[in-house]
Subunit: 291 residues, 2 copies
Amino acid sequence: MTNPKSDRVRAVRALAQASVRARRGQFLVEGPQGVREAVRFAPEQVRDLYLTVDAAQRYPEITDAAESVSLHTHLAAPEVLAAMSDDAQGVVAVLRHRAVGTDEVIAARPQLVALLHHVRDPGNAGTVIRAADAAGADACVLTHGSVDVHNPKVVRSTVGSLFHLPTATGADLAETIALAREAGLQVLAADGSGDHDLDQLADAAEVTVAGGAAQAGDATGAADSTEGPHLARPTLWIFGNEAHGLAGHERDLADAVVRIPIHGHAESLNLAMAATLCLYASARAQRHAHR
Amino acid sequence: MTNPKSDRVRAVRALAQASVRARRGQFLVEGPQGVREAVRFAPEQVRDLYLTVDAAQRYPEITDAAESVSLHTHLAAPEVLAAMSDDAQGVVAVLRHRAVGTDEVIAARPQLVALLHHVRDPGNAGTVIRAADAAGADACVLTHGSVDVHNPKVVRSTVGSLFHLPTATGADLAETIALAREAGLQVLAADGSGDHDLDQLADAAEVTVAGGAAQAGDATGAADSTEGPHLARPTLWIFGNEAHGLAGHERDLADAVVRIPIHGHAESLNLAMAATLCLYASARAQRHAHR
């Protein structure tokens, strides 16, 4: 492929637009890291794979992975890749949407889920998905009114994590909370107004786990029987809009509202930092409980 | 002030350029939150304060704070503010640089310091300064070759934290480490290649603190006498470039290299997320030790 003005190139480029993505049920993954993870973790979604000759040589792990799942690789001129995306770095993939339902996510009996409610900034949403992946969460959920998870900026800022864990979209907040609760998850809302301090919950989790483990040899039992929020329990975390947080009636839907301690003069942390701390605190407590 | 094309307006706008900032020794703070914190925490640096009539009414805390330190407030037309900055939201301040030396920062016997080495992205640098503030760190240090801390994007993403804690710039990495060590700080480098896992250090800190407190009634003593890194000790954290991390010889300068556990398939966390987790882990261990 050498013509950067061909219909095919235009069609790929057009996936930068939400309306085109929705109509075709496709989206774009740009750059070697994202494409590599897509080919490895979601090969059934990959429709087309474009690389420059240079990139094919530089990233044999991509072409090898593509070959091992019988994906055809299109070699294309650097101008073609540049015309497809400003962030291609020589590698682009077109993927089919894969709709994941909230019920599907919850039916898998997850231990840790991150829910993003009305999160609008692509970088924030992508970064929280990446944090959820790193913390070992089982899934992410985005409510209706959040940014399109297939927005190229979201996809880029997940750095492949979008393909590592199921991400349900278009969810209803109250319905998701009800489903999660039925499945035995506690629902914690992260908010600066919270009654519970994240560090104090972490302290309490350690004490309960230590006590439970010593007495019964099963720390999770101790965690389950505790009144109030407990970080070691299976948890759905709710993170609100980056500017406005969660409304009062939304916080009221949660079992508990948790704030991150602010020791200095900062008014708050940003969404991605707060989510990272919350998810890692849960991951740590859950891992201790199962040790 | 009604003329958006006046020399004064142009002079304010020009502070978006690094060369102009350096020549004049001034920088720009945009938006109500940043300006409020500048007036509250660094009034001696504020040279000029510009607000629309609307903003002056909407943010009385800014005009009140300015008045209480005898700062004159210039009322200006919305067009004037818009011409000064695209992110003014009706409020802009021009501040004088205040040079903070690394020796000054270390001489204050800090408990927790964040050092950014060759961090180039303004948003990342600003977010780490904000995280350091929230975690209760005493200071930040940026080495020579890092982004200009007075870059408007850095200032904006600190959301006022730049005025809450001293931030030394243009530092030399090896010199800063030597100074910190002389002052009794341990030096921890955050890097995915680390021998030490942050969660395991947190576990160890809890055990030592509990033991030390029970035996000697002074948990810090126990922390100080421990071999190897200990999160409760006074600490200088080193965070490297967002894309390349720290070089081997840079990591070797630290007392220990600490990695954040990755439980899922993510390859890494981004700089701001990693720094937030490290700084909060230190803050928590230090606070436990002093309880």
